[in-house]
Symmetry: C2
């Protein structure tokens, strides 16, 4: 699959980089040293027909584009600094469309104190899909410039999530995948409550199965065991939906200490544990007596039915 080819090639061939790269490609954000400080950066796009259905309110499309990036900021337990957006519009777009996109970006920018400081717009030659790319900058929010990466889980850690999972896409193409609260205050509160015992974290974008296996990408001797009965599925959806729907934008983390039951008004639920991998799958879903390989369970943005 092309998407993973690009990313894998990027990860594999990215050179060690200059001294200014504190945290390279491979996490939710990269971290760079600037004179006397640290800055984080990431980029993420939403594409018509892939991340939203044609006809979706453009204000919501733009909001989603920035919200996704803010969710990456949360995943690092960082604080947003600013964002820039690049918009490629179909030829048939109107001035009102351009304004709706900008309004959506600016609403979210304002709500999260993440000013939109630059933009670039192109109009397609034809009636081609809308693409909104947003790059976001952030700064560490924790003492000492600490951020929480995806890597560093330890044997015996508890595995936990915020909020509820599943059901991000409504039948009409709307739903939570378009409007979700990036868990920035929750992430900072978790990091402050757990301190050094918060070992690894990411935001759930593709689904609990795929994303949990990402937490162990650099830990070949570890696996994650999840008790499906403990997964906080939204509105009584079955665990398969909670694991596979994707775009939850909740936090998934591993910790050496019992996490708080709630942070910033959002419930926190322990759903599993970090165990030895041995010859088994990276992500193991325990359903009564059965062990199911969940390592690849999630939403595939390349599939036929776009959201």
């Amino acid at each position: 699959m092309l998407e993973s080819t690009f990313i894998r090639h990027l990860l594999r061939t990215d050179p060690p980089g200059t001294a200014s790269v504190l945290l390279p490609t491979g996490d939710d954000m990269a971290m760079l040293a600037v004179e006397g400080g640290r800055v984080l950066a990431a980029i993420d796009a939403v594409v018509e027909g892939r991340h939203f259905r044609p006809g979706t309110d453009l204000r919501l499309v733009a909001r989603k584009a920035l919200l996704r990036n803010l969710s990456d900021v949360a995943a690092m337990a960082a604080r947003p600094l600013a964002c820039v957006a690049s918009v490629t519009l179909p030829r048939g777009a109107s001035d009102a469309d351009a304004r709706a996109l900008l309004d959506g970006l600016r609403e979210v920018a304002q709500a999260f104190a993440c000013p939109l400081v630059g933009g670039d717009t192109t109009v397609h030659a034809g009636d081609d899909p809308l693409v909104v790319s947003v790059a976001i900058l952030a700064v560490p929010a924790l003492r000492g410039g600490r951020v929480i990466t995806r890597h560093g889980s330890r044997l015996g850690d508890l595995v936990a999530v915020t909020g509820e999972l599943g059901g991000s896409l409504e039948a009409d193409g709307g739903g939570r995948h378009l409007e979700f609260p990036p868990r920035i205050p929750e992430a900072i509160a978790l990091a402050e409550a757990l301190g050094e015992e918060l070992h690894a974290m990411l935001d759930l974008s593709d689904g609990l199965g795929i994303d949990a296996s990402r937490l162990l990408a650099e830990s070949p001797s570890l696996a994650i065991e999840i008790d499906v009965a403990r997964i906080p599925a939204r509105r009584g959806l079955g665990w398969r939906r909670a694991v596979g729907d994707g775009e939850d934008f909740e936090l998934l983390f591993t910790t050496g200490a019992e996490p708080p039951k709630e942070v910033s008004g959002t419930p926190v639920r322990v759903i599993g544990r970090v165990v030895e991998r041995g010859d088994g799958p990276t992500v193991r879903l325990l359903d009564g007596g059965r062990v199911i390989d969940g390592s690849a369970m999630g939403y595939d943005h390349g599939r036929e039915d776009p959201r």
Copy 2:
């Protein structure tokens, strides 16, 4: 035109922003305060059918995407820090295509010490145009964290350019618009040579006419007078091509002192002067006895013949 609607709306409605925004939207890059330092950010996209013709070598497409951003860094007399890229590929793209794009980005990243630290890839639902969005971070290169903005030209300033202008697009769709050296060392050398007398600067992306008028966007009482005989047209192209072809990615600047004749091996040419605007056009091209309004002369990326 949609592109300008988006940008104008962005400029007009962008709130004063937080204390961390040192330089908001409206320049080649925005500048932000981070603990103890300053960081600059910009985003720019290249779109198939707009910025390059279908069939163009994807390595060159990716190189152009990053080179354009590096040219914005030059325009601020800053130094690149890192970049992130978002790629949206047509469904029919191959793994080799994805690799060619990444190779192009990484070649330029390495050549300009601007590590690629993050990527995002999406595959279109159909055979839709390739979009490569690159966001770039930079840090001030001058003493005291100074950068050079577009604004600040003064009455009587000399107007000068680096290099040669015109002819960026060859008949076959190739040419300099795909491969150009961002004038980063030249910009820093100019700023060091001219000191406080370097008043305003930008990189020529849309064409000398349009871009010169941008230098005076915040100076309603000033105009720029350019002697067409002094414009350094490439290979004997007429001045109309030098003014209108666009994508020169040379530096255009105003200065209160005579600039060096050459910086970092690149010629510098004085082509005009900042004068009082009165009732005349913002950019005046002096062709013998005639005065021609050049304020809107440049390349329109929305026109039918894509490069």
